[in-house]
């Protein structure tokens, strides 16, 4: 064993450290399309103290450190571009405290969305969190780190907007509390009314620190959920429809999808609306308001509510919704990648046309999947392609299509979500120079040695 391996083993125990080829193979890649790069060590800590010690060791030896959740962000953000130590956070998976009346939970930095959902359902059936549609193993800390979006995003913004406190291990190895918890035992706010320091970490992909605890806001969980689908063949009208729907303030989540198969979905755009209620009466009242908000489009024959057969409902109501994962295997060979810029809802038609153009140009199976963020404040528009990993030509075509998406998204006024390192570079180049300098100042003051997830958010 090398010295570093021995030192790591002293911190976490021999069982939880590895520099073996087989581990390195897996930790060198994610399920997306980015090229693999092997780590030198993989370590799986269980406590904050262990994380601190690992980071101190890395800092002393100037070894890169890459925190990792479930590795499901798909854009290479957990690939150790410069080798070093991958810190797999999965053992730090406890739900620490639930503050029922204040509606927030504190979890450890490797807790998965699936675990929290199950925990709340069992112990706090009137509370829920904003669950994304990623596989249930995806972690909460990583999801807020990349500004993910979930079921409650239309109502409350990005999942990171729902953070109400953080505990972070800084690149120096010190623990830092962010938000009300820095002065109070209560974790109800990530910043206000003090300066909001959470921005020094959220969105940085672990390049400024490792989250070891997250407090996340919880929301009322109504007893009944239902789903409606409004279909239209007028992509240019989708933003107007979303505007009317969000005006009702009665929809839980708004997703839009368009795809050529199965035939039931061909040629149309589907605005999927989720509604909730504690009673049938409440649900029906909301349904009525929601249907009426789109009456104008029904009258002009530009759209209508389709009949959602009971057999389709469980799939749609599932959380996370597994249809996305199923789409990932349409071409067999399990390849799935999407570029999901955050962009103005008004750009829906432009995005959708671009996706179809690219799919036909590169002969790829595609799906458009958008999620409305806030009351139509923006959306994540997913340009999703599925490919067969055993078909290098198809992989290359997908890569080219995604590259074109990246160029298009920026030109259309979009901002990359969970950008690849190339996209980060493109964004940095385009960024206002003073903002760029500010980012550089933050990064160099927090991580002067550049050991934290190097390659990411590097401003030169």
């Amino acid at each position: 064993m090398s010295n570093i391996t021995l030192s790591l083993a002293e911190i976490v125990g021999e069982k939880y450290v590895s520099n073996k080829e087989e581990e390195a193979y897996f930790y060198a890649r994610d399920p997306g399309l980015m090229p693999a790069h092997k780590p030198d060590y993989v370590v799986v800590p269980e406590t904050v103290e262990e994380v601190q010690k690992i980071v101190r060791l890395a800092s002393k030896k100037k070894i890169p450190v890459v925190p990792m959740g479930a590795g499901m962000s798909l854009t290479g953000l957990v690939i150790p571009l410069k080798g070093g130590i991958v810190i797999d956070m999965k053992r730090m998976n406890k739900v620490l405290e639930v503050h029922e009346k204040a509606r927030y939970v504190i979890v450890e930095g490797g807790t998965s969305h699936g675990l929290l959902k199950a925990y709340l359902e069992k112990n706090y059936p009137r509370l829920r969190h904003s669950i994304p549609d990623s596989p249930a193993t995806a972690t909460i800390a990583a999801n807020v780190m990349i500004h993910g979006q979930g079921r409650l995003t239309q109502q409350y913004g990005f999942n990171s907007d729902m953070v109400s406190g953080l505990e972070v291990v800084l690149p120096s190895g010190e623990i830092c509390k962010i938000g009300s918890c820095s002065v109070s035992p209560d974790w109800f706010s990530k910043g206000a009314p003090f300066p909001d320091l959470s921005g020094l970490f959220l969105g940085w992909f672990g390049a400024t620190g490792i989250i070891t605890k997250v407090a996340l806001k919880l929301y009322p969980r109504k007893r009944i959920r239902d789903v409606e689908i409004f279909v239209t063949d007028r992509e240019d009208l989708v933003p107007d429809m979303v505007y009317e729907l969000t005006h009702t303030e009665m929809v839980e989540d708004i997703n839009i999808f368009a795809q050529p198969l199965p035939m039931i979905f061909k040629d149309n755009h589907h605005i999927t609306l989720f509604i909730t209620g504690d009673t049938d009466e409440e649900l029906e009242f909301k349904r009525k308001m929601i249907w009426h908000s789109l009456d104008g489009f029904i009258k002009s024959k530009d759209g209508g509510f389709m009949s959602v057969p009971p057999v389709m409902k469980p799939t749609l109501l599932d959380m996370p919704q597994q249809s996305v994962s199923r789409f990932a295997d349409v071409k067999k060979g399990g390849g799935f990648e999407y570029s999901g810029p955050i962009i103005a809802v008004e750009k829906y038609a432009e995005c959708s046309r671009k996706l179809m153009e690219l799919a036909s140009q590169y002969d790829l199976a595609y799906s458009a999947m958008a999620r409305i963020i806030g009351r139509s404040h923006s959306m994540m528009f997913g340009f999703a392609f599925t490919f067969n990993r055993a078909d290098p030509d198809m992989m290359e075509r997908t890569q080219k299509a995604l590259q074109e998406v990246a160029e298009f998204a920026l030109a259309a006024g979009g901002v990359y979500w969970k950008p690849t390192v190339d996209e980060q570079r493109m964004a940095i180049e385009r960024m206002d120079p003073n903002t760029r300098n500010l980012m550089k100042m933050i990064k160099t003051s927090l991580d002067p040695q550049g050991i934290m997830n190097p390659g990411n958010w590097e401003v030169h």
């Binding site: 007028r234 039931i264 149309n268 009525k288 249907w291 009456d295 489009f297 209508g304 009949s307």
Partner: protein, 337 residues
Amino acid sequence: MYTLEFDENLCKTCPTCDCLVKCQYMDLSVDEAKEEMIKIINGDDSFVLQDCVTCYGCEEYCKRGNHPFYLITERREEKGILTAPRAITKQWINIGEPRGKFKTGDIKKKILSFGFMPELLELTQGRLFDDLMPSYVFGQEFFCNVVYIHFANTSIIKERLPMVIDNFRKLDVEEVVCMHDECYGSFASLAPAYGMEVPFKPIHYFEYLYNRLRELGDEIGPLNIKVAYQRPCSSRLSSEKHHFVADIMQLVGAELVERRYQNENALCCGDVLGMIYGYDLRNDIQKRNIDDMVEHGAGYCVFNCPACQNALAAKVTKRGIRPIHIIDLCRMAIGEK
């Protein structure tokens, strides 16, 4: 090209104009009804072309053998008057497109046709069907395409229905038991109205069920329940078979409650009307219908069409009424459920 065989004189000399006078969604006197029908016949504008909700009722109200609803549909299409939002029409046209994914069982001279309703594959089990199953067809290739009259689109019917008929012809079958009203209606009403030759004898599944139950005679244990029957829109295309509902209920010992919205005055499930016209119409129809079932003490709501069942099952259940398909009800009577 197929054209609708419509006898104008029957309308012009009609003393009652029941087609429009009896309409549940428009209020017309006999004179007004005649005036509007003549306008429609002449290809002139008529508010009926705008206001008809596509319940199919007039096909039954007309006792003179004309096809008022098919004519309304033709005229709407000629004038480009859309009933449904375009996206809904497209969706249905896409769903029905033959894709070579049909299923056939062990085909005999007499077969069951499930059209393109997967629920029917599940329903047709047990002794009621054991003399025919697995002689069946299922899939878009055998889908009757009648639903497009809701969407004022007869072109697609004229294009696809002959192909469907041809697919049956290729199977060399003599009798087709249609497991859905639309299927029966397409071969017994729509195809003849457009001069399409049907090379087999369509049999309504009610008739088949009735005869099978009689064969199983002794095995029927009276159900002693009170039921409301949910009549589907498409049953208006085969109103001459509607009496089998009462006949079957009598055989299985189920009491059909006498209610306001029954027989000619029945209300449809409202599902397609919601897709076309929105919340209020759908909600109004469904509410009046279910209230009526409850008021008249129905313990079961008996469905004929799986789509009606999809639309109303949860809603009647919430009002304390058990939803059941007529086939399951018959199976219950012979102790299979």
